[in-house]
């Protein structure tokens, strides 16, 4: 029989090789799926993986990768800290929305003043909004022992209703003839978040994502807090003996992930999205959970996982438009990629043994 034998230490070779093997397996399985749908598998795979990086329009699409990956990475970094500590923030989408609403409110309240202080104020407001939304499950958990999964998830729906109210009501563009949606930040330069270097897609949100990756890496590797976070997740009782205050850990992790999600929200609304609208949120908060796990909750891993997810979104979109692939096929393809990544990951920690004799 085939059995799994735990390795004494995780294999470094496989830790690096699993993503590559997984991508290859996905290309094979995905190609088969596309062939069943009647499309040329080679062309489809090339369009998804190769074209955005090296193809005809790569000069434009490479920058778009950063635009797409930026919020994912920023949110995922925040989530990963909580996940490591065993604190399940499923409501990042809601914190993202609230960050955008708070930040946009500050920006639009200042309209039409032009001042260098407005953008920083918006950013602070956005981080605060997300932090606040993350604090609700945190306080309910520490005070009343309420499970944070449910509270943070329910608050996502509440945040969506507040977003609707903002787009239709208190943030609606007074010069918009009664149509829903706020003013567009592209028309308000003091508050907007444009590309810093044309064509690269780098806006302040992307910069923030890179900074977050570096900070998280340093935090987890060098800082005592990082050690405590890791300990709290892997050995909660040992953590308590060490002096980690669980309530403080909960507040910190939910607060940080809320604030980072809120930051992603405000950067997105002031930049690529441009305005508060009913459909402003596109699920980054949930996709970031996938990115966090794909990156094995490790900051550098998250950076790479975010870029890979962005590649499948953008490449998949091109395959949809140019090859007529239904966008559902791309969604299924992304699911398959995740499956293979998760499946192949077993080799990092376990060795496959065929026909091993059991120890008596």
């Amino acid at each position: 029989m085939v059995t799994l034998e735990k390795r004494p230490t995780p294999s470094r070779f496989w830790a690096a090789a699993t993503p590559i093997v997984a991508v290859i397996l996905t290309m094979l399985a995905g190609g088969a799926l596309f062939a069943v749908l009647g499309k040329n598998p080679f062309e489809a795979i090339r369009t998804i993986f190769w074209d955005p990086l090296f193809g005809e329009f790569a000069w434009y699409l490479r920058g778009q990768l950063l635009v797409k990956a930026g919020p994912l990475i920023l949110i995922a970094i925040g989530l990963s800290l909580g996940f490591r500590a065993g604190i399940w923030n499923i409501g990042a989408e809601g914190q993202y929305i609230m960050g955008a609403v708070f930040g946009a409110s500050v920006g639009l309240a200042a309209y039409p003043t032009e001042s260098r202080l407005i953008f920083p104020a918006m950013i602070l407001a956005g981080a605060f909004g997300g932090w606040l939304w993350g604090m609700i499950p945190a306080i309910l958990k520490t005070r009343f022992n309420t499970n944070e999964i449910l509270v943070s998830l329910m608050l996502v729906y509440v945040a969506e209703k507040i977003l609707s109210k903002a787009a239709l009501g208190f943030l609606r563009n007074p010069e918009g003839s009664g149509f829903p949606g706020s003013r567009n930040f592209k028309d308000y330069s003091a508050a907007s978040n444009p590309e810093l270097i044309a064509g690269t897609g780098m806006h302040w949100g992307v910069v923030a994502a890179f900074i977050a990756v570096i900070f998280a890496h340093i935090l987890l590797q060098r800082h005592i807090l990082g050690f405590q976070i890791k300990l709290a997740g892997q050995a909660p009782r040992a953590a308590r003996f060490h002096g980690v205050n669980p309530a403080r850990m909960i507040m910190l992790c939910l607060g940080i992930s809320g604030a980072l999600a809120g930051l992603a929200g405000v950067f997105e609304v002031a930049g690529p999205a441009g305005q508060i609208s009913i459909d402003f949120n596109v699920g980054y908060g949930f996709t970031a959970i996938i990115v966090a796990f794909l990156g094995r909750l490790n900051p550098i891993g998250i950076l790479l996982a975010g870029l890979l997810m962005a590649l499948t979104y953008i490449g998949g979109e091109m395959a949809s438009t140019n090859l007529g692939l239904p966008s559902a096929a791309i969604q299924a393809f992304q699911g398959m990629l995740l499956f293979f990544l998760l499946a192949v990951d077993v080799l990092t920690n376990f060795r496959i043994r065929m026909f091993a004799k059991g120890v008596a």
Partner: protein, 314 residues
Amino acid sequence: MDFGGINPAVLIASLMVASVPILLAAIGELVVEKAGVLNVGVEGMMIIGAICGFLTAVGTGNPYLGFLGGAAGGAALSLVFAFLTQALLANQVATGLALTLFGLGLSSLMGQGYNGIRPPLTGAVPFGPLADIPVLGVILFSHDWVVYFSIAIIAAVWWVLRYARAGLILRAVGENHDAAHALGYKVGRVRLLAILFGGAMAGMGGAYLSLIRVPQWTDGITQGAGWIALAIVVFASWKPWRVLIGGYLFGGISVLQLNLQASGSRIPVEYLSMSPYLITILVLVIMSSGQGRGGDRAALNAPAALGQNFHASR
């Protein structure tokens, strides 16, 4: 008998129907989590159940077979989850999310070309004169069979978990899989069966949407019901009867706020539409604050081994 223009008996009957998909999915997920596995891919299994149920019903012309097809579809998808998490020891949360993504995409692909078709219909169970009893007749005797099934399955799960040997083994596996393994119980097999049950229930819940509730197939027909079901399991503190309360509470408030709007109530609509979520949080706070401090999962009745993968080290 009407309060502000709303007939309570009719309201209760409505909420029983509205809650069926999340009840089925939630009770299935409860069994899975009791066995120590966290499958967040409920949404994916529900929507695969919806399309499989729809295709089976339209293909065979029989709605009962449709529900069987939906359950089979959900269970088949959960098999992927079982293989990855039990055999290959992948992270359960990530695998569940992948399941949702894959399920949403695959269901849409399977459903291409099936839009606008009406499936064979399911009527109410004919209780005859019982259905004419005022109040109780509307609440108890005018539903389709799946409504009764959802209540029955919750009762069955409660009984099995509490009194049957299989239920005790399942709970043991969920609390401490190493000890259960040491006692000779097949942890992998128990969890596999639990996962399949969860998949089948979620699939049935999805099939209810496409065969009775809407009834039609359209992309994304579940609209997040799977996530609500997950929340209801937590709300229920992993106790089966609480799933019923949680499901009816959530479904009830959702239906009530629409009824309040329809009857012309003066409560602003925005607050009404937020109410199911806020009230669910509030009730959970009240319920969990009565259960002592500590901040650890034991106080919340979660199975101690929830989310951890089991690997027999011999």
